[in-house]
């Protein structure tokens, strides 16, 4: 009975903490989450509109709220929504930014099928997502579990591990990365300690360049780690006590209590990570000097899109690429949600 009550309470707090987590995550990933901001704000806007017509609500409140929202609304519609829709229109045209767009039907979309660099950029990006996202989440979870044991100086370690997440997306770190994995970089010096002498430049070889970027992504495990840490704190201690009374070992407890209880948060981290890593741009742009090289091995989807739009001045094609990316990310997210019912455990 007692345990049951705990469960009930936990269920309630979990919902509260989920939105808190979301906010925390937002702060942590400031700058990367514009889309989610827009989506969630539109949802809130919808609620406002609905409420307006519920007789028990005071209409004056809604008007004031809409007034306060107006600056954001104007910005979202004029600077996000309209350009987005405009890019959809542009994607059916041939447009070099100087001559007026010229309608060409589905030509841009058909061109993709025959474009080897498009196919390559998809392969590069998908490889990056498939390898680096799980690795990052495993690293984040492992460290979160370690830190959760309440070691001394926890606050320090938490900050230290979190630091790369704040720096990892910056130009400065990408430049640093270039030096670390260069021919006479830190990484080769590290290998030298183990007697492996090499002048291999990991950045300059097409077989390894993408892996250095994956390493950069995994290194930014701090942000999901902090979320995991918060999630671990929400798991009631009683569950572990009860399990250990029943004779379950550490591994068994981790598998049967920690993982299922944490699965909604793992799911949240997974979805966000996939979306964000699919949009990776800065790192590849800086490390390859904007080319996606060597040999197109770091030609991420967004980088190719940028090159087509602003270097080759094929705005129509770039817009089509952008909309295909929206579809791909939506499909991946949808797939994640569909698969989630097999492994995500919601405690209702």
């Amino acid at each position: 009975m007692c345990v049951g009550n705990q469960f009930g309470n936990f269920g309630n707090t979990d919902r509260g903490s989920a939105s808190r987590l979301y906010r925390e995550w937002h702060r942590a990933n400031d700058g990367d989450t514009e889309q989610e901001d827009i989506v969630s704000s539109f949802a809130e806007f919808g609620v406002l509109v609905n409420n307006r017509h519920k007789p028990k609500d005071k209409p004056a409140d809604t008007k004031v709220a809409l007034g306060f929202l107006a600056p954001w609304l104007i910005g979202a519609v004029c600077l996000s929504l309209i350009p987005m829709l405009y890019s959809l229109v542009i994607s059916f045209t041939k447009y070099n930014m100087i001559k007026p767009p010229q309608f060409v039907g589905l030509m841009n979309y058909r061109h993709m099928i025959a474009d080897p660099r498009f196919i390559n950029s998809l392969t590069v990006t998908l490889t990056y997502v498939i390898v680096s996202v799980p690795l990052q989440l495993v690293a984040a979870l492992a460290l979160a579990v370690l830190l959760d044991r309440g070691m001394r100086g926890l606050a320090f370690y938490r900050s230290a591990f979190y630091l790369p997440s704040m720096l990892g997306g910056s130009v400065a770190v990408a430049v640093l990365w270039k030096m670390v994995f260069g021919a006479d970089g830190l990484f080769n010096a590290f290998l030298g300690i183990f007697g492996i002498d090499t002048t291999m430049s990991w950045i300059a070889n097409p077989d390894t360049a993408n892996w250095t970027l994956m390493a950069l992504h995994v290194w930014q495990f701090g942000s999901p780690m902090v979320i995991f840490l918060a999630g671990l704190r929400q798991i009631p201690r009683e569950l572990y006590e009860a399990a250990s009374v029943d004779g379950a070992g550490t591994w068994r407890q981790f598998r049967s209590i920690t993982l299922p209880m944490l699965s909604p948060i793992i799911f949240f981290n997974l979805v966000m990570s996939v979306i964000n890593s699919f949009q990776t741009f800065t790192q590849a742009y800086v490390v390859s000097g904007g080319t996606g090289g060597p040999s197109d091995s770091t030609l991420f989807y967004t980088l190719y899109l940028y090159q087509q739009g602003f270097a080759s001045l094929r705005m129509g094609y770039a817009s089509a690429l952008a909309w295909i990316m929206v579809l791909i990310v939506a499909a991946l997210t949808g797939m994640n949600f569909a698969l989630s019912k097999f492994w995500v455990h919601y405690d209702d």
Binding site: H53, S201, D207, S295, D296, A311
Partner: protein, 437 residues
């Protein structure tokens, strides 16, 4: 509630339609402003790409220009190479291009054929273009219009770091008539003698290099809107860095790859770890400064058939005037000042390349010293091998340099055979040209 949403949706769609139509409507047309100087105060905008030293000298020259023409004020803007073209495309789309802009051969056809640039012949009252050779002047023409004034020329040569050669006890062979084989043999010796700490050279990896390679094979790169270089010739150009990476001239594949992406200061030649560099003659001064030596010289490019007339004066940079400029006469006066005025020539020096105006080049050659002088005199050295100018890079091939490096990387790292890469590269470029025109 449903109806309400419909209302909102209609409003949004109306706004979208409005934005779309206005954006589509703002195509760029030439302004019909007569090319006549104004008596009143006039402000024009000048835009260029380049580093700090260019900012300094250009600001000085512009200040001197404003002193000569007190009623003209020049607003200056500048950015780095990549940012410059992104910005110019967006500005041109918005009908907001600068009055005077620095232009490059790779992008000239694009802006020229879009009607974004003023035909300078309409401003001949204010702008003199006869201080340069006709063949150079013709490289500023697109579709029969003089849309750009060549400001400087660039000559490919081999810059040699003599300090390195002296330290290694090596002497250059006869460079007046040397072949690519002789060049590679000598470069290999550098790498061998220094146990790989210093490399001999790097294979040429840009459009200028490819153009000269084609000419040395008795071909051309472009003919109008067609790529006419033979796949075999292009294949040998793409194969060159692969051969030189394996025989030691470039050290290794990765070293070549790093160098081809490096900035001047991070490159082996800039760090004094490379003996010879195939590049533009005026690069000698920045390279000498970076490598910390003043003992650098320039020798002619190796040739397949030594002494053949395969070289040409390539415009290093141009000045163009926007066709939507409200003050074309004043803009023309500024361009005229920048390319023909002796005072401006002295201030600007060789930072943008060798001045296109022959008088100014000779004046400079007598007044400067050191590596700048070496670069200026190199034009006379290659005079006997100068042939006719090729047609300029067509619209749609602006990404030529990056495309070359990408296919060279494919060949160097064994992703493709050279001939396959050559055929794919020709197809890709031709598609891009056809799409743009």
């Amino acid at each position: 509630m449903k109806r309400l949403w419909k209302k909102y949706l209609t409003a949004v769609m109306a706004a979208v339609a409005l934005c779309v139509t206005t954006a589509c409507g703002s195509s760029v047309g030439a302004s019909d402003v007569p090319v006549v100087a104004s008596d009143g105060d006039v402000t024009i905008r000048l835009d260029w790409w380049g580093g700090d030293s260019r900012v300094e000298t250009t600001e000085q020259a512009v200040a001197a220009f404003e002193k000569l023409h007190p009623n003209i004020h020049v607003d200056m803007e500048y950015s780095d190479w990549t940012g410059y073209w992104d910005k110019l495309a967006v500005q041109s789309a918005g009908g907001n291009a600068p009055d005077v802009m620095q232009m490059d051969e790779l992008y000239l056809s694009f802006y020229g054929s879009m009607g974004s640039l003023l035909d300078l012949n309409t401003a001949s009252k204010y702008l003199e273009l006869n201080g340069m050779s006709d063949s150079l002047k013709s490289m500023g023409q697109v579709e029969g219009k003089q849309v750009a004034a060549p400001a400087t020329t660039a000559q490919y040569g081999v810059i040699v770091n003599n300090t390195i050669l002296n330290n290694l006890g090596l002497t250059l062979p006869d460079t007046d008539h040397w072949t690519w084989d002789e060049f590679a043999d000598f470069a290999k010796q550098v790498t061998e003698k220094s146990n790989g700490t210093i490399i001999g050279s790097l294979a040429p990896n840009n459009g200028y290099g490819l153009q000269l390679w084609a000419r040395q094979h008795g071909e051309k790169l472009f003919d109008g809107n067609h790529i006419v270089i033979q796949p075999q010739t292009l294949a040998s150009f793409l194969q060159l860095p692969a051969d030189w990476a394996s025989n030691g001239v470039e050290g290794s594949r990765e070293r070549w790859s790093e160098n081809s992406a490096a900035t001047l200061n991070d490159s082996d030649f800039g760090k004094g770890q490379q003996a010879m560099m195939i590049t533009q003659a005026t690069m000698i001064t920045p390279y000498a400064q970076a490598a910390g030596t003043d003992d650098m010289s320039i020798v002619p490019l190796p040739q397949i058939d030594p002494g053949a007339k395969t070289m040409y004066l390539k415009p290093g940079m141009y000045w163009s005037i926007s066709s939507s400029s409200q003050h074309p006469a004043e803009a023309a006066m500024l361009v005229n000042y920048l390319i023909n005025n002796k005072q401006a020539g002295t201030i600007l020096g060789t930072e943008r390349g060798i001045p296109s105006n022959d008088d100014i080049r000779h004046t400079l050659a007598n007044s400067v010293s050191g590596t700048d002088r070496t670069a200026l005199n190199f034009v006379d050295t290659i005079q006997p091998t100068l042939g006719t100018s090729p047609s300029i890079t067509p619209n749609g091939a602006s990404e030529l340099d990056k495309t070359i490096i990408r296919y060279q990387q494919d060949v160097v790292f064994g992703k493709r055979k050279a001939l396959d890469a050559a055929k794919a590269m020709i197809a890709e470029l031709q598609e891009s040209i056809d799409f743009a025109s």
